[in-house]
């Protein structure tokens, strides 16, 4: 890639104004990579970061449960399982917006490429599968910045199970949707839950238009596809 020189433009939100956005043009790019645990998100993001940095771009990461303000409290809440669903949704939303306002927007103003390891879509899907009103959830995240591109690494649930076991020899309680009582059997619960999440993503794809990437293929193919999308986006002239 030649000398990076990103054209600045006004970034949009999903409908509601964000109090902290301000007027300055955001020069960087925001790319969101979505997918279940085991879909290869982290591996691909790491490789993309290295490739971008080698090409001369400054890269910043964003993810769920990472804000210094709330990360510990969310972890505690997850473990104690004391909080109701709306409260959990709002805790995650607070964490999300905290990162958005304090780290992402400043980074975008400074011209960074921001790679988001999951974005609002996972948060919304989790809420909706748990019975949240879709309209309420959409409103909650309507002040978020619209990413320049969203990639959904779609993986067969059967494949996800195997990859999760390879990593940890155990399935995560929340990623198996055990709080939903889908099955007493964790393995079965995981498959059902991931299926529900994928169907929700399918519906969101129609609304938000993200790029579905077949993540069942080998890593090199996936990475090539992601890089070609990113290259195209980075070459876009000022909007």
């Amino acid at each position: 890639m030649h000398q990076p020189n990103l054209a600045g433009r006004m970034m949009r939100t999903f409908g509601s104004p964000l109090a902290e956005m301000g007027r300055s043009r955001l020069v960087g790019r925001l790319f969101a990579i979505e997918g279940a645990d085991g879909s290869g998100r982290s591996t691909n993001i790491k490789a993309l970061s290295e490739w971008l940095e080698a090409s001369g771009y400054a890269v910043k990461h964003m993810g769920l449960r990472r804000s210094p303000l709330l990360a510990q409290d969310i972890e505690h809440a997850k473990q104690s399982r004391l909080l109701t669903r709306t409260t959990m949704s709002l805790l995650y939303a607070t964490d999300f917006y905290d990162q958005l306002v304090h780290e992402i927007i400043p980074a975008l103003r400074a011209g960074y490429i921001v790679l988001a390891d999951r974005y609002i879509y996972t948060l919304m899907a989790r809420d909706i599968v748990r019975g949240a009103e879709p309209e309420w959830t959409r409103n909650l995240y309507s002040s978020a910045l619209v990413p320049d591109a969203v990639f959904y690494l779609q993986t067969d649930p059967g494949e996800l199970v195997l990859r999760n076991f390879e990593k940890n020899a155990t399935l995560d309680y929340w990623e198996s949707g055990m709080d939903l009582g889908l099955s007493r059997d964790m393995f079965e619960s995981f498959l059902i839950y991931q299926g529900l999440i994928q169907r929700t993503f399918g519906r969101m794809q129609k609304r938000y238009g993200f790029t579905i990437v077949d993540a069942n293929r080998d890593f090199a193919k996936i990475q090539r596809e992601l890089r070609s999308h990113l290259t195209a986006s980075l070459a876009t002239a000022a909007k």
């Binding site: 509601s16 109090a19 303000l69 004391l82 409260t87 304090h102 409103n139 002040s143």
Partner: protein, 231 residues
Amino acid sequence: MVSKRPKYPGKLIAVEGLDGSGKSTQIYLVKRWLELSGARVFFTEWNSSSLVKPSTSKGKMSRLLTPTTFSLIHATDFADRYERQIFPLLQAGYIVLADRYIFTAFARDVVRGVDFDWVERLYSFAVQPDVTLYFRAPLEVALGRILDGRPELKYHEAGMDLGLSPDPYESFRIFQGRILEQYEMLAPRYHFTTLDATRDIHEQQAEVRRILRQKFRLSDFKKTKGRRAAA
């Protein structure tokens, strides 16, 4: 708009007003009245969830909270109290007294620059109170009661994050003035019952009890009656 309320046997009574309006004194007296009458009553106040409090305090101390996160962290606190306590107790037939309700969020968040429609929809999971008592006092009266003796004003309490003035007292003055404007807008929209908060405590309480007696029969909520079946 806040959603239509489903039927439940309890009653939700909220009080709103500026700091220094005397609303907390009034709701406390209501609580005592109801308790001493043997009613099933529960009291909740703003920003009091024990599960969320550590984050709120941390954020406020380090001044990390900006309008949207400030709004959301208080919404989180409210959601916890609402879903674990307020709503289940209403379903069980309690009188729930709320010192400040969602309207406090609307007023404070909007003054901080948060979009009104967004925050209104954010709280749409919560029911409308059966009565919202708005203790209206002129700004100078409310300010006088708070600032008498020059107490220490905390950063966010004084609205210092808004950059209204380098002096906390001046900042507080302007901040409260803007909150008052919001309340005046919210009052008709949410059918507040407005009371003159400049009168003496006893007179106000008498009016409050008169209003409440019209809204429900105290005997319906007596503990000795045993559990009411869900409506």
